[in-house]
């Protein structure tokens, strides 16, 4: 059964804007992005919205629905009361371009700062080999669709614009962790994770994990293990001593970058 949905949608640009009221006919089984598209098609042809797959896999339609970072294509209207007004704003951590579209280039700049995968030499037969359990470890991290909702919700930059130069954010701690746990990688990124990426600024309040549409355990499986690895290198004299005694001449030792 269809019904008339009340919505408030943020309209404007970097110079200013406000929430505008809309009423739109919606059908059973639809998602917030469907309602936005119908408004765009019937009432506000110039409403700017970024989207692509409508299947929760491209990470384009990130926005804030009733104040919570969500993918609009994965937010079912049936999660709300029919009488409820749904408020949609662009993500609030990045500069707005227009309406629901923001400039997320901060994330691409941070991505450039992560040194690329640097694998060990190939085996004599020209192949590289990994055991299944080592392959499985990184699979969770590779589910990331780069919707940047974790970056949006992270209070370190959301509430403190001045932290942006010194903090890479949860999406990139995921990347640091994935590479640091990779058995074939030869770079040691722990110093970078601490100094350039600012992992020490994270106070592990787990909002990144709460909003992740891929249900990646960002905090437990990436950020905290990475913090522990940084503690190994920087804050644990026992580990430091052990590395000096037992790792000398280790051909598998990594190069600090």
């Amino acid at each position: 059964m269809g019904y008339d949905l009340k919505m408030r949608i943020w309209r404007g640009d970097a110079d200013g804007g406000d929430l505008g009221d809309f009423t739109v006919a919606v059908e059973e089984g639809e998602v917030v992005l469907d309602a936005i598209h119908r408004i765009q098609a019937t009432q506000a042809g110039d409403l700017a919205v970024r989207w692509n797959c409508k299947a929760g896999k491209c990470g384009s339609c990130s926005a804030e629905v009733n104040g919570r970072p969500r993918l609009m294509c994965m937010t079912r209207l049936s999660d709300f009361e029919e009488s409820e007004t749904i408020t949609v704003t662009p993500v609030r951590t990045f500069p707005v371009i227009r309406d629901l579209v923001t400039d997320v280039s901060y994330n691409y700049e941070k991505a450039k700062q992560v040194p690329a995968f640097a694998p060990t030499p190939r085996d004599p037969d020209g192949k590289r080999r990994m055991m299944q359990e080592d392959v499985e470890r990184g699979q969770e991290f590779r589910k990331c669709i780069e919707c940047f909702l974790c970056q949006d919700v992270c209070h370190v930059i959301r509430d403190h614009e001045d932290n942006k130069p010194a903090f890479a954010g949860p999406r990139f701690f995921l990347r640091y962790a994935e590479l640091d746990m990779h058995p074939l990688d030869t770079n040691d990124r722990r110093k970078l994770a601490q100094e350039a990426a600012g992992i020490g600024m994270c106070n592990i309040t787990k909002c990144c994990t709460e909003v992740c549409p891929e249900n990646i355990h960002i905090t437990d499986n990436a950020i905290i293990p990475m913090k522990e690895r940084v503690a190994d290198r920087k804050y644990d004299p026992v580990v430091w001593l052990g590395s000096k005694i037992f790792r000398r001449g280790d051909p598998a030792a990594r190069t600090e970058v």
Binding site: A14, R92, V96, V153, H160, D220
Partner: protein, 263 residues
């Protein structure tokens, strides 16, 4: 001074938050729960009294290491001697307290509920400046692993106390009371919490590059990971259980109740 979501260039919204759910419930309940525990445990730790009733020794006072400890409560001796004038609990409580204060779950909980940093996801924090855990004193959170080692030792002592709780008032073995059950539940929750620790997970296997080259540590890591997934739940359960175990001993020691003996 940072300006957060009202920074120039970001989409400006008048409301402080657009969240319509009860986001304030979690920080409020956490605040109340922790405050109640801190008040209760401070009173009990400083009282220095009513912490032993044969065969039960309050977990707040175990091991009891000072000469001032009451008869029968010092199963590991009294190496601290008689110079310690304060409550014997204060000698040992620093270790489990340090373990919980630096615990990754508790950090999330108290940063949100006491420091409001942030109070809830996408709800603005009230602080103008934020440096996270990069400076003193919060940089000390990095020594959590050392507190974990201490917590394992304390856990071993509490396990010993639980075994001793299978005696009767005359010190004879093979008996049980309600206190034994409470101690048993407490030590189970303590171990579920301690072994599910993120630092423990790192130490047993998380720090490895190749799981495949360390099959035993990989298995242990898998076990710890299962506990770790419920670390927050066990943190609360063990917090309650340790307070209940202490309260039970207090009620016995003050003759408010009698231990319900099963056999």
């Amino acid at each position: 001074m940072s300006t957060g979501v009202s920074s120039p260039g970001r989409a400006q919204v008048r409301e402080k938050t657009l969240r319509q759910d009860n986001w304030w419930v979690y920080p409020l309940l956490t605040f109340l729960g922790f405050t109640a525990f801190v008040v209760y445990s401070t009173w009990r730790a400083f009282s220095g009294d009513n912490y032993y009733s044969t065969p039960y020794l309050s977990p707040f006072y175990s091991p009891c290491l000072a000469t001032a400890c009451v008869d029968g409560s010092s199963d590991l001796g009294q190496p601290v001697g008689d110079w310690w004038r304060l409550s014997p609990a204060l000698i040992i409580l620093v270790f489990p307290l340090g373990f919980r204060l630096t615990c990754y779950y508790y950090r999330k909980a108290y940063y949100r509920s006491f420091w409001l940093s942030p109070p809830a996801c996408a709800v603005a924090e009230p602080h103008g400046k934020y440096t996270g855990e990069t400076r003193l004193p919060l940089i000390l959170q990095n020594i959590h692993r050392y507190f974990w080692v201490a917590a394992v030792l304390v856990g071993a002592v509490l396990t010993f106390d639980t075994i001793l709780a299978f005696r009767n008032e005359d010190g004879e073995w093979g008996h049980m009371g309600l206190g034994t059950l409470i101690f048993l539940a407490n030590i189970i929750f303590i171990w579920l919490y301690t072994l599910g620790c993120h630092s423990c997970r790192h130490i047993v296997g998380g720090r490895l590059r190749h799981f495949s080259k360390h099959p035993v540590r990989y298995k242990m890591w898998g076990f710890v990971s299962k506990l770790n997934a419920k670390h927050g739940t066990y943190a609360w359960l063990s917090l309650f259980s340790v307070a209940i175990a202490d309260l039970y001993v207090y009620l016995l020691a003050t003759d408010t109740i009698n231990d319900l003996r099963f056999f």
